[in-house]
């Protein structure tokens, strides 16, 4: 039976879900459900969480065996709270996610991931020896890392050349990993790794970052508007498929914690030794991908990103990298409204 575990945040390790015998189902904020989350929470929350809650309220979801929430920001915390009211019969776990990356944070997150794994096995009525659990997780991590490697290769190709439809294809693979299974995503990645269309040339290579951009059609729109996406940093893009570094004797949960905290930090996770490091990271990634400009796309009311935009803007300005900042909700339509601004930006880059 295809038993699914719902989740909403990129810090949820999919290999843990699959090792416990479930399929992952990331609840993406895409729905025709009426807008009603504001009644249960408030309207000044990001459209990501509001739309996910709208889906829950309207039962626009597949059958779920349970929900994994991550305490990644206040809005996510509130979503977990609202879920208990909207779907009181659902099994829920909330994982505390530290904001820092130091030793204590790593220790704690590894315990949290261990708690998650224990809970997932319990939800599936499985009582197994820790060694067997560890083996099962390692097997899934192996598959996951194959996927991460394939995605990396696709991204490298994207950075070097422009293949029409390739960026949207990549998003489809990532969405499959998030909503179907690692195996299916891996099969897709293998078939898509060689571009279907010959390489063309576009003149506006752009690095795109922000919180969520999951709709493959948006990447097609970018191409129509002459934007060549040479790199991305979204919690729905390749950052979601974090490669998990493991050594033969490593504690598996520690490896997970290390990989998730250190390798793929988003705006809500910070290195206290370099305050504002997100800005440097974006500058470096933009440069590495040979982008001529950077587009930031963040959702309205998203504190973690919006509060870092001034630092990012400043860092890009210092490097004379043109920056376009867009704010909206998660829909293709909202991106459509930005067409004029994006086209004006790419025209400016081409000069």
């Amino acid at each position: 039976m295809n038993k699914k575990i719902g989740f909403t945040c990129a810090y949820t390790p999919v290999p843990l879900i699959e090792a416990a015998g479930f399929f992952p189902y990331r609840i993406l904020p895409e729905t025709k459900a009426p807008d009603q989350a504001g009644h249960l929470l408030h309207d000044n929350l990001c459209p990501h969480v509001k739309k996910v809650l709208d889906r829950a309220l309207e039962n626009d979801l597949p059958d779920l065996e349970g929900m994994v929430f991550i305490n990644s920001c206040d809005t996510m915390r509130r979503l977990a709270d609202a879920w208990q009211v909207a779907r009181p019969d659902d099994k829920i776990i909330l994982i505390d996610l530290p904001s820092g990356m130091n030793r204590l944070s790593l220790d704690f997150l590894s315990k949290e991931y261990e708690r998650l794994s224990r809970t997932l096995f319990k939800w599936n009525d499985q009582t197994l020896e820790p060694e067997i659990i560890s083996e099962k997780i390692k097997e899934k991590i192996f598959q996951w890392n194959l996927l991460a490697d394939s995605i990396k290769k696709i991204e490298e190709k994207m950075t070097n050349d422009f293949f029409p439809g390739y960026a949207s294809g990549l998003q489809q693979i990532i969405n499959t990993a998030a909503t179907e299974s690692i195996d299916q995503a891996l099969a897709m990645a293998k078939s898509k790794i060689e571009p279907e269309n010959p390489c063309k040339s576009l003149t506006a290579p752009v690095f795109v970052f922000g919180n969520l951009l999951f709709d493959p059609k948006v990447y097609d729109l970018f191409e129509e508007w002459n934007v060549q996406v040479v790199g991305t940093d979204f919690c729905t893009s390749s950052r979601f498929v974090t490669r998990i570094q493991t050594g033969p004797d490593d504690n598996i949960f520690r490896s997970l914690a290390h990989s998730y905290l250190k390798q793929t930090p988003c705006a809500r996770t910070m290195d206290t030794t370099i305050p504002g490091s997100i800005a440097q990271r974006i500058v470096e990634r933009a440069k590495k991908s040979n982008a001529k400009g950077v587009i930031g796309f963040t959702l309205k009311f998203c504190d973690p990103y919006l509060a870092r935009i001034p630092m990012i803007r400043q860092a890009l300005q210092k490097e004379s990298i043109p920056f376009l900042m867009l704010e909206g909700d998660c829909t293709e339509g909202s991106m459509g409204q930005q067409q004029t601004r994006i086209e004006a930006f790419t025209e400016m880059l081409e000069v």
Binding site: D74, L104, L306
Partner: protein, 402 residues
């Protein structure tokens, strides 16, 4: 500018005190101590730490650090009607108008060089993500060392150990800056002071429950949150004692607006910080805020033999760190203990932490038959204040309750 404001307040209250030593009430004493703290923050040669709201100020003061949460300054700027001047700077630099105005005000002040430069910065993940983000901005702007206290939401052994280890590590971080090791004795004294203040706080809150209540609409506004800045000190105990004495005196002499208490109210989260005649309006309508949600003692006494764990448990226990179902249970208990008729929730624009739970809070209070008035208002930024609308809604709510 802020130094002058705090200095003038200190001088004004001290003058009054010298003319009439017995004429100073509890609230004045409290304002005097806060102004002294404010003045110290703006004084050179102090070791200054800008912090998140839930930082352990008792621990920091025992280590010789003058510390304060930045939202306190945001509130001061609003109350002195100077915040507007700073919002524009923050917004011009790209801080979203939809963000919390406590933060926008202080970020503007940082950008305008109107904040004292700290020696280091301590962010806390509770109460809010936005607060932590602002602390990172501070650290980036001032190029100062930055420490984060992650306050988990789950009250588990692992969570408590995690936070208590972080607090211990914080003491090393602070020592590295002050060049003074932690003195167990001084910390013990601070915790002892904290315990005495906590005991007095419980007494104060118990007295406020009396029917009719001896509090008025101003007396305990934002008291619970702001008092944490002083609770590890001797002065903190004196202030709490003064409030307790004043409430006892009011009950004894019936000098406590008893006749005006037609409606008993709870105020949810923080008050409105800029001059807005809400208190007067409520006075005129015979409504009395007998309890502010955050005026509550949720922690056990601090154990000086186990200081870090005690502080950790305290930090996890407060409403800011709770999940909403626990927060609502806490509010329901307060509602019953204080026998309130209704609650006002100023849904501070930009606050995902508190305002984000608006619908759940209303539902939770409805479950115990307590109506809630949700006021869509920015408690710090008065630029878009729809004053007439707010007044009409408050009046209608009071009418409905009566």
């Amino acid at each position: 500018m802020m130094y002058e404001h705090f200095d003038n307040t200190v001088k004004g209250i001290k003058d009054k005190l010298s003319q009439d030593p017995s004429g100073i009430n509890a609230r004045k004493k409290y304002v005097l101590e806060l102004s002294r703290l404010g003045r110290k923050l703006y004084t050179k040669n102090e070791t200054i730490a800008w912090c998140g709201v839930t930082a352990p100020f008792d621990l920091l003061s025992s280590m010789g650090v003058t510390s304060c949460f930045v939202e306190f300054v945001g509130a001061m700027l609003a109350s002195t009607q100077t915040a507007g001047f700073f919002f524009e700077d923050a917004e011009d630099a790209g801080f979203a108008t939809d963000s919390c105005a406590y933060h926008r005000a202080v970020m503007g002040a940082v950008l305008k060089n109107a904040m004292p430069e700290p020696d280091f910065i301590i962010g806390t993940s509770s109460p809010c993500t936005a607060g932590l983000a602002v602390m990172e901005n501070f650290a980036n702007q001032y190029k100062k060392d930055f420490f984060i206290l992650n306050v988990p939401q789950n009250y588990s052994k692992d969570a408590i150990r995690f936070l208590s280890n972080q607090i211990e590590e914080l003491t090393h971080f602070v020592s590295a800056h002050t060049k003074e090791p932690l003195s167990k004795e001084k910390l013990g004294m601070a915790l002892e002071n904290f315990n005495q203040s906590s005991k007095l706080l419980r007494d104060i809150y118990d007295l406020a429950k009396t029917k009719p209540s001896p509090v008025d609409n101003r007396l305990l506004r934002d008291f619970g949150v702001v008092m944490t800045l002083l609770m590890g000190t001797r002065e903190g105990i004196d202030i709490c004692q003064a409030f307790k004495d004043e409430l006892n005196q009011r009950i004894k002499t019936s000098r406590h607006h008893a006749s005006k208490e037609k409606t008993r109210l709870m105020w949810i989260q923080n008050r409105i910080q800029y001059p807005f005649p809400m208190d007067k309006m409520l006075d005129d309508l015979g409504a009395k805020i007998v309890i502010d949600e955050l005026n509550t003692v949720t922690w056990e006494p601090m154990d000086p033999d186990n200081p870090f764990e005690s502080i950790a448990k305290r930090m996890i226990s407060i409403p800011f760190s709770m999940d909403t179902s626990k927060r609502i249970k806490n509010m329901q208990t307060l509602a019953l203990d204080y026998q309130i008729d209704g609650a006002i929730n100023p849904c501070h624009w930009g606050c995902r932490q508190g305002t984000g739970a608006r619908g759940l809070v209303s539902k939770g209070m409805r479950d115990i038959d307590i109506p809630v008035l949700n006021l869509e208002i920015d408690c710090v930024d008065s630029r878009n204040l729809a004053r007439g609308q707010i007044e009409t809604r408050v009046e209608a709510f009071m009418e409905m309750l009566s």
